[in-house]
Amino acid sequence: MTTRRLRGGRVFDPVNAIDGEVRDVVMRDGRIVAIDPRDAVDEEVDASGCIVLAGGIDLHSHIGGGKVNLARLLMPQEHGRRRTPAGDDPLALADCSHCTPGTLATGYRYAEMGYTSVFEPAMAASNARHAHMEMGDVPILDHGAYVMLGNDELFLELLSKGCEPQRLRDYVGWVVHATKALGVKVVNPAGISAFKFNQRKLDVDELHAHWQVSPRQVIGALARAVHELGLAHPLHIHASNLGVAGNIASTLATMEALEGLPGHLTHVQFHSYGTEGPRKFSSAALQLAEALDAHPNCTIDIGQVLFGQTVTASGDTMRQHANAGLASPRKWIGADIECDAGCGVVPFRYREQSYVNALQWCIGLELFLQVRDPWRVVLTTDHPNGAPFTSYPHLMRLLMDKPFRDEQLARLHPDVAAGSALRHMTRELSLYEIAIMTRAAPARLLGLHDRGHLGTGAAADVAVYREQGDAEAMFTRAAWLYKDSEPVVRDGRIVAAPVGATHFAEPVFDAGVAHFLDAYGDRRLGVHKRHAVIGHDELCACCNGGRLLPSACQARSL
C-alpha cells in the first residue's frame, strides 16, 4: 500500500473548481486520498513547476474493432516511413504507424500524452467480441464502447411495425447487455441500412425505401430508449449527411428530432457545413453554436481536422462510398455487416492548400471557440478520421495560442485564410477549459463519477506536465502519469503497461425480450443465439483479463 504525494504542482480540477492552485495530490490504493500535509508518505514527488490534471479521457476515438483493423490492413505503407529501433523501449513491442497504430502503440502513445481512458464509439453489435478483444490489447488505458443501433434490420423492422416504446427500450437494453456496451450510438440513422437497399442519401425526414421509417423516427425512438434505460451517456449521434455541403440543416433537424431528450452529437465539424460563397461550401459553425444555446439537452465533440495523411474509418457506408472517390491513396474498403451495421475505410490526406480541407480545419476551431460552455464540448479529432489522436497536443496549442493559430491560418488556401471568421476570434482557451474539455466534461458525459477529477475518493488517474509556454510541447510528454495510483509514464516514457479495465453499463430491462428475439432466430443474429450474449467470463477473456467496471443504470421515465 504505497502512498504517493505529488507536492507543489498547480492543480487544474474543474469538477472541484480548482483553477491552478498550488496544492498537493496524494494517492493510495488506486484512489485520491486526503491526508494531513505533515504525514509521512512512501514516495514524495516534486511536482513544482508542473501542472497536475486528472488523466485524460477521450470519449470518441476509433481504437478497436473490425473497421479499425481493416484500416491497418489497408495501410501497410504507413509503417515504412519511420522505424523505431528495437530496444528503444523495453516494453514497446509496438509499431510506429502514424494513423493506423496497433493497439500496443495506441496505448503507449495515449499514455505518453497523459490520457488514461479512451472509448471506442462504433462497436457493431454483431461483432462486439472483436472490439472488446482489441480494446483489451490496448495497454494501460481503461476503455469501453458504444454499440451501434438504428441500422440493424431488427430495430428498423420493429419501428416500422409501430412497436411500442417499452419493447424498443427492452431491445436496446438487451443489446447493451449482450454486447457489454457503455452507451448507444447511432450512425447515419437508417442510412447504413438504406444503402444496402441502394439508397444513396437519406435526409432526416426522408423514408428508408424498405422499412419506411425516417432518421427522425430512429433518433426519437433511440433517444427515448437510452433515456428510459437510464444509461449515463446520452444517445451518441453521428448525424445524417456527413461531409455534405449544407448539412447544417440536417444537423439542426437531428437536434430537433431529440425533442428535448439528451443527445451527444459527435464530430460536429463534419456536420456544420453551409452552402454559401462561390464554392457553395461554407462554415456553419456559428449556427451550430447558436443551436447549442437553444438546445441545452445537446452536447458535442468536434472531430477536428488536422493536416496530413490519415485514414477515415466509419460505420457510415453510405457516406464513405460517396467519398471514396476522394481517397488518397486511391483505395478503400467497404462492407455490409450482418444485417446490423456497415463500415467504410477511406484513406485521406488533408491538405492545407485544399479549400475544403482548410475550411474544415477552420470550422472545427470555430466550433471550439464559439461554443461558450466548455462543459458541453469534448476535444476530439474523431481519431483517425479528422487526424490521429497523437495530434491532440498540437490542437490544444491551436486553441490556447492565438498568434500560433494565426500563423497556421496564414499557411492555408488563400481564400480561406483571408475569409475565415477564425481570424477575428481572439479567444484563447485556458488550462482550466482544456481540463474541462479533455477530462471533466467527458467523464460527466459518460457517468464516470470517480474519473476526470482529483477530489478525495476519485480514481488516482493523474497526469503531471512540466509547465511551459508551448502547450504542444507540454501536452506531448507527460512528466508523470499515474494509472490507479501506479506510475506508468515517467518523462514521456512508458515505465509500466498494466492491462486496462472495461467500462460497461448494466441497464435493467424486461428479460422476456430474449424470447421475442428467439423468434427472429439465427437469420437476424448471424451467430447462434447461444452466443448472442457476452457473459462476464467471456468478456474477461476477450479483454485480456482486465478489470470489469460495470455501471448500474437507474431507469427513468420521460
Binding site: 490492413l73 522505424r83 523505431t84 529501433p85 472483436h130 478483444m133 447462434h528 447461444r530 467471456e538
Partner: protein
C-alpha cells in the same frame, strides 16, 4: 455452353445432404436445428448405457484424462472458417459423431481426433516431462538468430501469446496457408474491397456468382449458410464461373459459365462488360452475366483464396473492380472464402497488436512487412531462417514441412507419433496442445470477419497453445 439447371434438387436433401425427417417441404436449416435439438432432447434408447460403459473403459485406458465432459449438444465446428454452429456432437472422447450435418470437413476433423493419443512431449524423439520439453524448447529458441514461426493454426488467445514471443525473438511469422491468404491481402492493400457477410448474403443476395470456385468443395456448408436451401431465399440465380458446378446443388436455378480457362482473362472481360466499356470479341456468356449483374439488386461475387490461380491478387483486383463498378448504380459485394485453421484469426490479432499483418519480421530495424520475401516456404527452402517453431493445434495429421532445420512443434497429441513415424524426430522438440473447439474453448474469426466463440466438446486436460507459449515467453524473459 451455358447450362441452366432449372430443376432444383430434392428439397429435403440439401447441399450438404442433410435429410430432413419431417418431409420434403422442410428446409434444411430447420432440419439442422431440429436434429441438434433432437440430440439434446431424446437420445435413442440404449445409447446412454453404451455411453457409460464406454466412459468407464476410457477412464481405465487414459488416466491423463481429467474429466469426462458431458455431451456437448450445441457445438460450434472449428474445422473451417465458416465456424458453423447449431450442430450436435454425440459420443465420447474416442468417437465424436456429428449430428445435424454430414459436412465432410467437420467429419474429417472429428475423425482425425477420434482416438486420442496419450499426450507425450519429447525431445529429439525421447519422451520427457512436458516442462523439460518447454525448457529445452526455450533454450533452443533463444539460440536461433532468425526464427520462423510457421503453421500458426491457433485461436485468438494463442495468437496473442505468439505475438509476444515473436516480438521477443525477432521471428518472422507466416501461416501454413499464408500463400493463399496473401493473395487476398495484397489485392486489399493495393485496391481495397467491398465485402459482405453471411447474414447479409442470406438476407438479400439475389445473384450469387462463384468465381473460380465450387465453394462447397472446401466449404461444404456454405450454400446452406447463405440460406439457398430456404424457401424464402432471395437468391434467384447461382452462377459458377470458370468451374463446373458441384454434383449436389442447392434448390436455386444454376448457371455454368465455362469461360476461356483463364480466370484472369475472364475477369478482365467481365470488368469491361460490367462497366459497359468497349470489349472486343466478348464472350456472349460473360456479356450475359454482366447484364445479369447490372440488373441484380444485390449481387455477391464469391472467391476462394486457395483456388485462385498464380498471380491471383491480380484476378482479385479485377473482381473487386467489378464489384466497385456495380456499386455505382446497384448494390454488390464480394465474399472471400478462406482463413480456415486460424489463418484469419492470427492475421487479425497480429494486425491489431502490431499494426501489420503476417509475413512481418520483428527485426532490429523495427517491423518489416514483406508479403513476398517473408513467405515461410521460401525462407525454409533458402535457409534464410535457422529454426522453425511450428504451431498447429487444428489436427494431428498436417505435419510441419520437411526441413533439415531445427524445429519446435506444438501440435495435438496425435501429431507426436506421426512425426516420429515420418522420421522427423531429429533436432525437434514436440509439445502436445489442445485443439480449440474440440478440447479447449476459444475464439476464431469467421471467413467474413465475425468472431465466433468456441466451446470444448471434451476436456482432455491439455494445455492450450496460449498456455505453452506463455511458458516459453516466461523462460525467454527470464533468460533475457
Amino acid at each position: 455452353m451455358a447450362r441452366a439447371i432449372h430443376e432444383p434438387c430434392h428439397r429435403g436433401s440439401t447441399v450438404a445432404g442433410i435429410v430432413s425427417a419431417a418431409g420434403a417441404t422442410q428446409c434444411s436449416m430447420r432440419a439442422g436445428t431440429d436434429c441438434a435439438s433432437a440430440g439434446q432432447r431424446a437420445a435413442p434408447p440404449g445409447r446412454k448405457g453404451r455411453r457409460n460403459a464406454g466412459l468407464a473403459q476410457r477412464l481405465r485406458k487414459m488416466e491423463w484424462r481429467k474429466i469426462a465432459a458431458p455431451l456437448e449438444t450445441d457445438w460450434t465446428c472449428p474445422f473451417c472458417a465458416l465456424l458453423c454452429d447449431g450442430f450436435a456432437l454425440e459420443g465420447g472422447a474416442d468417437a465424436l459423431v456429428l449430428r445435424g450435418s454430414d459436412c465432410p470437413r467437420a467429419r474429417a476433423g472429428l475423425a482425425a481426433h477420434a482416438r486420442p493419443t496419450v499426450p507425450q512431449a519429447w525431445i529429439d524423439g525421447t519422451a520427457v516431462p512436458a516442462e523439460d520439453a518447454v525448457a529445452e524448447a526455450a533454450r533452443r529458441l533463444a539460440r536461433w538468430r532468425q526464427p520462423l514461426f510457421g503453421g500458426l493454426g491457433t485461436d485468438m488467445a494463442g495468437a496473442r501469446s505468439l505475438f509476444r514471443l515473436a516480438s521477443m525473438t525477432g521471428a518472422i511469422c507466416d501461416h501454413a496457408d499464408g500463400e493463399a491468404m496473401m493473395k487476398g491481402l495484397r489485392a486489399l492493400q493495393d485496391r481495397g474491397q467491398f465485402h459482405t457477410t453471411l447474414a447479409e448474403v442470406h438476407a438479400r443476395a439475389d445473384l450469387l456468382v462463384c468465381v473460380g470456385t465450387q465453394a462447397i468443395a472446401h466449404y461444404p456448408e456454405f450454400f446452406r449458410r447463405c440460406g439457398l436451401d430456404r424457401a424464402d431465399s432471395p437468391c434467384r440465380l447461382l452462377v459458377f464461373l470458370g468451374v463446373p458446378p458441384p454434383a449436389v446443388l442447392p434448390p436455386v436455378p444454376t448457371l455454368q459459365i465455362a469461360g476461356s480457362g483463364d480466370l484472369l482473362a475472364d475477369l478482365r472481360q467481365l470488368a469491361a462488360l460490367v462497366a459497359a466499356a468497349p470489349c472486343r470479341d466478348a464472350d456472349p456468356e460473360l456479356a450475359g452475366l454482366a447484364a445479369r449483374l447490372r440488373e441484380s439488386r444485390y449481387a455477391v461475387l464469391v472467391w476462394e483464396a486457395a483456388m485462385l490461380p498464380a498471380h491471383g491478387a491480380l484476378g482479385l483486383e479485377l473482381l473487386h473492380r467489378v464489384v466497385a463498378t456495380l456499386n455505382s448504380s446497384t448494390r454488390a459485394a464480394a465474399f472471400g472464402l478462406g482463413g480456415s485453421d486460424g489463418a484469419a484469426t492470427v492475421q487479425q490479432v497480429f494486425a491489431w497488436l502490431s499494426g501489420l499483418p503476417l509475413r512481418t519480421r520483428f527485426g532490429p530495424a523495427g517491423q518489416e512487412h514483406e508479403p513476398v520475401r517473408f513467405a515461410g516456404p521460401r525462407l525454409l527452402a533458402g535457409h534464410a531462417v535457422d529454426g522453425l517453431l511450428w504451431v498447429w493445434s487444428v489436427d494431428p495429421e498436417r505435419l510441419p514441412p520437411a526441413t533439415d532445420l531445427p524445429r519446435i512443434v506444438l501440435g495435438p497429441p496425435g501429431m507426436g507419433p506421426r512425426l516420429l513415424q515420418a522420421g522427423a524426430a531429429r533436432d525437434c522438440v514436440f509439445l502436445p496442445v489442445a485443439t480449440p473447439g474440440l478440447n479447449a474453448a476459444g475464439h476464431l474469426f469467421r471467413a467474413d470477419g465475425v468472431v465466433v466463440p468456441l466451446v470444448a466438446a471434451r476436456d482432455d486436460g491439455l494445455p492450450t497453445v496460449a498456455d505453452v507459449v506463455a511458458r516459453l515467453v516466461q523462460r525467454e524473459a527470464a533468460a533475457a
